[in-house]
């Protein structure tokens, strides 16, 4: 049996890029400060030296142009991976993503198999413009795929799958997990995780908790405490891929537990929990023994001061409170 090596969430992303670039010449990177500097979070440190400036392209500050170039290269059969220095800066590329990348195959038959990746999420005291969760901006846009890993294993496996995917994939990395998550990853085995499959992070029979990204860990902690203190078992499902959504996995769990709590870091109104709620209402309504509840950030921008950001973010206690309410319903 092959050995394992301790790998951070960030290291896993780095390895996925390295491995795909080494095995497939058509994979290349473009973004701001990814070459000479090695990336704002050092994800691509040393890549320029290994792969040269034709495959590790430092671009001007121009997210629309970055995504545009990735689309064109993908049209020609290359596999571009575009970095947004912070995922917040995907906003200036919104038009290019929503109107060009997402609709390309539908309109013309020519797909745009590219990856746009970057650090999302709050908790790092970075203020309103370096902390956002942007998945809902793209939720209603057919043609896109969206991925947000919670573990190092998934970060690696999903990124490799995303790079090989023939459709445009938005790959959100939670910056709070970059160096906080460490896992033993297999060394010789190919780590690939197919898009579109949720994962049961923790089994349980009393309540289904659906979540993704950094909230997987807070949710699991909450579930552990509930098990310890109340003896109830909360099943935690890590969606991993938001689009396509693994509705079957959610429905199967809800049909067992009869109760659903959706937890996400983005604000509540118009957040992803709405879609999940609607799908469960459609497909497992009769199995519901209690209202579906959401625990999310509050409906504000992400504030900067520690007191404010902590209040903004859904906390373990918030999850426990909602879960207990549902369990007691």
């Amino acid at each position: 049996m092959a050995g394992t090596v301790e790998t951070t969430y960030l290291g896993a992303i780095r390895e996925a890029l390295l491995e795909e670039m080494r095995t497939d010449e058509s994979v290349f990177l473009l973004g701001e400060d990814i070459g000479v500097y090695g990336g704002a979070f050092k994800v691509t440190d040393g890549f320029l030296e290994e792969f040269g400036p034709e495959r590790v392209i430092d671009t001007p500050i121009s997210e629309a142009a970055i995504v545009g170039a990735a689309i064109g290269a993908a049209h020609m059969g290359l596999k571009p991976v575009a970095e947004m220095q912070f995922i917040d800066f995907i906003a200036p590329a919104f038009d290019m993503i929503v109107n060009f990348a997402a609709k390309s195959r539908y309109r013309t038959g020519i797909g745009a198999g590219l990856v746009i990746r970057g650090p999302c999420g709050a908790g790092a005291r970075s203020g309103p413009f370096h902390s956002q969760s942007v998945e809902s901006y793209f939720a209603n846009v057919a043609g896109l795929k969206m991925v947000i890993p919670a573990r190092a294993y998934d970060a690696k496996g999903l990124l490799r799958a995303a790079i090989r995917d023939p459709d445009p994939v938005l790959f959100f990395e939670h910056k709070f997990l970059y160096r906080r998550i460490k896992e033993e990853l297999p060394v010789d085995e190919e780590v690939i995780v197919p898009l579109g499959q949720a994962r049961t992070h923790r089994e349980g029979s009393d309540l289904t908790l659906v979540t993704y990204g950094a909230m997987v860990h807070k949710s699991a902690d909450a579930a552990d405490r509930i098990a310890e203190e109340d003896g109830s078992e909360v099943e935690v499902i890590d969606l991993r891929t938001l689009r396509p959504l693994d509705t079957a996995a959610i429905v199967e769990s809800v049909q067992r537990t009869g109760r659903l709590l959706v937890v996400h870091e983005a604000p509540r109104f118009g957040g992803f929990a709405g879609e999940i709620t609607a799908q469960v209402c459609e497909e497992a309504f009769e199995w519901l023994d209690a209202p579906i509840r959401r625990v999310t950030a509050i409906d504000t921008p992400v504030p900067y001061a520690p007191t404010l950001e902590d209040y903004y973010l859904p906390g373990e206690d918030d999850i426990i409170e909602a879960a207990r309410w549902l369990l007691a319903y």
């Binding site: 142009a65 170039a69 059969g77 290019m96 060009f100 396509p244 009769e286």
Partner: protein, 348 residues
């Protein structure tokens, strides 16, 4: 020379046919014409080699015809036939045809150059001496995406030629109103690339300048901006009667019609005779008659096509449940218990 004339005429005649087809009610949505700008499009399209790519604006039909696009495909596109290059899913010139090196634009202006940059990048990464060519209206040059595209192309020294079509108008607004640019050539200063201005209504001048810029790009010397001084002779689209345009301005440009000028030149210098040009025109006419008849006999795409090709994997397109119609095999009943409504009635 005859080929050039043929392309110019084909462009104009095809658009005139489309206008007829439009008035007959067969065109779905709007119709955009390039009347007066044919020389810019044709001169550029003609200067490209096999394997080069081009991304047109709505005024560059002639460039696509020069690349070998079948006029039928243009009629199909405007009439939303299922046989169109977009299967009826998109309109105007929004088709991408890899075999002909055509990258279709999308409506948000400025975006196409950004995407074309990626095509150019792929040429360089594969050590192919191919060139990318694109057009941009004076109006479109004010968009952020256009700027980002130009800046990236310049920074990466990509093999790209960008034609700035200075046609005096952007939709219903005079360019002078919304751009303070004095000499359009100076736009290149923001990117550190060379620029050349040509009479966009003189097909030979356009061709020469395009050929030179293309050679430069092919040699690895990067992007050139070509400013084509020209004029939009009709409204923005078929529905725009262009009432806002001063008649004198129109008249002045009418006197510099690119196709008539070129015909005069060909005859004057003995390249062609009146009758040989007349023959070109009648051949084109016959060809287009047949094309229109053929295409109008084709139908719209079947409705179900609407659901296809969002993703590469057809299973994903098919997966979305519950959107429409009866609920297929809904198993919304919990084993062992009655429906909720009934449960309540019993429990109540």
């Amino acid at each position: 020379m005859r080929t050039l004339y043929r392309l110019l005429w084909l462009t104009r005649a095809l658009e005139e046919r489309l206008e007829v087809v439009f008035k007959q009610g067969h065109v779905v949505g709007g119709l955009y014409r390039s009347l007066g700008q044919e020389a810019t499009a044709v001169g550029c399209g003609f200067a490209l080699a096999d394997g080069d790519w081009i991304a047109p604006s709505i005024r560059d039909l002639g460039a696509l015809l020069a690349r070998g696009l079948d006029p039928r495909d243009v009629i199909r596109q405007y009439t939303a036939r299922g046989t169109s290059l977009c299967s009826g899913k998109d309109n105007t010139n929004h088709f991408t045809v890899p075999e002909l090196g055509i990258l279709g634009p999308i409506s948000p202006l400025g975006t196409q150059l950004c995407v074309l940059n990626g095509v150019a990048l792929s040429f360089r990464m594969r050590d192919q001496a191919q060139v990318c060519f694109t057009f941009q209206g004076d109006g479109a040059s004010r968009t952020g995406t256009s700027h980002e595209g130009l800046a990236l192309a310049a920074a990466l020294n990509l093999p790209i030629v960008v034609v700035l079509e200075h046609n005096r108008w952007a939709f219903g607004t005079p360019s002078t109103h919304v751009a303070a640019v004095e000499k359009w050539e100076d736009v290149a200063g923001a990117y550190g690339v060379p620029a050349v201005t040509v009479d966009g209504n003189d097909v030979l001048q356009v061709y020469d300048a395009a050929a030179e810029a293309i050679a430069r790009a092919r040699a690895g010397d990067g992007m050139t901006i070509l400013v084509a001084e020209t004029y939009r002779m009709l409204g923005h689209a078929q529905h725009d009667a262009q009432k806002y345009v001063p008649e004198e301005e129109l008249q002045a440009w009418r006197d510099h019609d690119p196709i008539r000028d070129f015909a005069d030149y060909l005859v004057e210098f003995g390249f062609e005779s009146d009758s040989s040009l007349e023959q070109v025109r009648s051949e084109v006419g016959a060809e287009l008659d047949a094309a229109v008849d053929d295409v109008l006999a084709e139908g719209y795409p079947p409705a179900q096509e609407a659901r296809t090709r969002v993703y590469d994997d057809p299973a994903l397109d098919a997966a979305v449940p519950w959107t429409r119609g009866p609920v297929p095999g809904y198993e919304g009943l919990r084993p062992g218990i009655t429906r909720r409504a009934n449960a309540y009635r019993e429990g109540a």
